[in-house]
């Protein structure tokens, strides 16, 4: 694969992330504000809004976590690696990335088992919508984070700088 194609892919996925974040956040703002207006002006409300808002928080949180993984901006302690020389720093980078990828893959796998369970039992949310659709962000989110850290781990191992 040529490097310009890779770059294009990076750009497209970055824009996709932005679009998803904006869509989720704007729906959240509109729904939350709409609910307040309905309650105070029309003395009514849509029953499923509160539940949908809570699910949106989960989606936005995990989408944000995926984005934080790309930019490598997850909260961390990292007090020791600055005392290492370059090659040891690289080794530490590879080990922590592979570890993170492994943990997230494990969570993603079990999230997948959990979601397929609710799919089989036909659980519903918001008075009728299939729950598994809303829960699917768990395996997707953790899967994407695992993928990100695997790529970073490999890139660090090969000594390549990524975006």
């Amino acid at each position: 694969m040529s490097s310009s194609l890779l770059k294009r892919l990076e750009q497209v996925s970055r824009l996709t992330e932005n679009a998803v974040l904006i869509l989720l956040l704007l729906s959240m703002i509109v729904l939350a504000a709409g609910q307040i207006i309905l309650r105070n002006v029309f003395d009514t409300g849509i029953i499923w809004t509160d539940e949908l808002l809570r699910i949106l928080v989960l989606w936005l949180g995990l989408a944000g976590a995926v984005v934080a993984s790309r930019d490598r901006r997850h909260i961390k302690i990292d007090v020791l690696s600055r005392f290492l020389n370059d090659s040891w720093q690289r080794i530490a980078g590879v080990v922590t990335c592979v570890f993170t990828a492994f943990v997230c893959a494990l969570v993603a796998w079990h999230a997948g088992v959990f979601v397929s369970g609710t799919f089989q039992f036909g659980d519903t949310v918001m008075g009728g919508a299939p729950a598994w659709i809303f829960q699917s962000i768990l395996p997707i989110g953790f899967g994407l984070i695992a993928y990100r850290y695997l790529v970073y781990g490999l890139a660090t191992l090969l000594g390549k700088e990524l975006g």
């Binding site: 939350a32 504000a33 928080v57 944000g64 909260i75 969570v107 079990h110 829960q135 953790f142």
Partner: protein, 422 residues
């Protein structure tokens, strides 16, 4: 294995593995080890616990307030806030330093002490302080310290997060933070006046400037009134106040003042939601690790252990202070809240410490952590932002650190300060 795995996890964390992954791993490992032959199917508890994020209505406040705060910091609000405080306080000797403290505290309350304050307000205040002949060390220390000053004022994110984790009323926490926050502000102001007593301010108090500054900031002034007034009149829940704030700031900055362009929005959303994602995923996985710890009866064993060694609440508070200071120097405030509060809350309640007061103690100590060498977050941000060596930042922040330490002790041992308004 029971000893090796935790040690390996701690080492990985110290070498820079993301904290959420370390916490998730400890929860996975804990559940796996809960039967002798290894309970593979119990690992499902971890994603199920993360899904509980969708069962906490109050969490809605976190993305909405964070977004509003980031949006504000991109607009002209920081500049207007400084002008307004300057019009009100700038005529005092050393007044500009108090302007910095007040403006930063207000701004941090809305942006949640994530370093945004130093970057947004520092860029305006630091040159202004230099121009007014404040000495360099004082100015650097002041800005670095001010970056986390508003933590105890509503609607700061750490207050909300503590309320969620400790299951205490966020309305009450907002009230409880007022006096302790003011004590910190007052003590730092007194030091600033004293340190700069020889500096005569060139500003004179002018009603005309006050009116002009108020007029310029007329769109931002209603914000605290909407948030606090809305909540305490019973008109809004906390998450509703967050929604109103987000809509209000969005409309004002994008359409009324037109200071933020639509094309800037994706980057602002990305930056703010990146922070939200980082916090929520840590919250999610620590729900799982807390679940494991409660299954393993760790909090009650901890209480038994502590109550055998310590018999007076005062000794407990002293040890708590020391523990939290060390914790705050290592862990960021959000991880510290979700990880440690479930452990110490039952112990503190055993010593008859009010959970709201504990929250204020906890956050006040954590605020110190932002400026405690060697790894306080504000120290790095200031070093990076003002291009000064980290050693110089350490030295310049030290007097402020000591004053904050004193105020934290006052807040800890004088519960009435936190509980008077409840």
């Amino acid at each position: 294995m029971d000893l090796i795995v935790p040690i390996v996890l701690i080492v990985l964390a110290l070498f820079g593995a993301p904290l959420f992954a370390v916490i998730a791993a400890s929860a996975l490992w804990g559940f796996y080890r809960s039967t002798d032959e290894g309970a593979w199917e119990l690992l499902q508890i971890v994603p199920v616990e993360v899904y509980r994020i969708a069962e906490m209505p109050i969490l809605l406040a976190i993305p909405l307030f964070t977004f509003a705060g980031y949006l504000l910091s991109e607009s002209g609000a920081p500049r207007r806030l400084v002008r307004l405080s300057n019009a009100l306080l700038g005529w005092l000797p050393g007044g500009l330093s108090v302007v910095a403290l007040a403006a930063c505290a207000f701004f941090t309350a809305f942006t949640g002490a994530s370093g945004v304050t130093i970057i947004a307000l520092g860029a305006i205040l630091y040159p202004a302080l230099q121009q007014a002949k404040y000495d360099d060390n004082f100015s650097l220390g002041l800005i670095t310290t001010s970056g986390s000053l508003g933590l105890l004022f509503a609607p700061s994110l750490p207050l909300i997060l503590y309320g969620i984790v400790a299951e205490v009323s966020i309305d009450q926490l907002f009230l409880a933070g007022i006096f302790p926050g003011l004590v910190m502000l007052l003590m730092l102001s007194l030091y600033s006046f004293w340190h700069n007593r020889h500096l005569r301010s060139s500003n004179r108090f002018s009603w005309r400037e006050v009116v002009a500054a108020v007029n310029e900031a007329k769109w931002e002034i209603p914000l605290p009134i909407i948030v606090l007034g809305g909540i305490y009149s019973g008109y809004f829940a906390v998450s509703e106040a967050a929604a109103v704030t987000a809509v209000y700031v969005l409309v004002i900055d994008l359409f009324v003042l037109r200071e933020v362009r639509l094309s800037q929005l994706p980057q602002i959303v990305r930056e703010s939601m990146l922070l939200v994602g980082g916090i929520l995923i840590i919250l999610g996985v620590s729900l799982a690790s807390t679940n494991y710890m409660i299954d393993a009866e760790i909090p009650s064993r901890l209480f038994e252990f502590v109550s055998q060694k310590i018999d007076s609440p005062l000794t407990f508070l002293l040890l708590l202070n020391i523990f939290l200071l060390v914790l705050g120097a290592i862990l960021d405030i959000f991880s510290a809240i979700v990880l440690v509060v479930p452990l110490i809350l039952p112990v503190a309640m055993g010593f008859d410490i009010h959970p709201v007061h504990l929250g204020i103690i906890f956050l006040a100590n954590m605020q110190l952590g932002y400026v405690t060498p060697p790894v306080g977050l504000n120290l790095f941000i200031a070093s990076y932002r003002f291009d000064e060596s980290i050693m110089k930042i350490y030295a310049s922040t030290l007097p402020f650190l000591l004053i904050l330490l004193l105020s934290v002790l006052i807040i800890t041992y004088w519960p009435t300060l936190s509980l008077a308004l409840l």
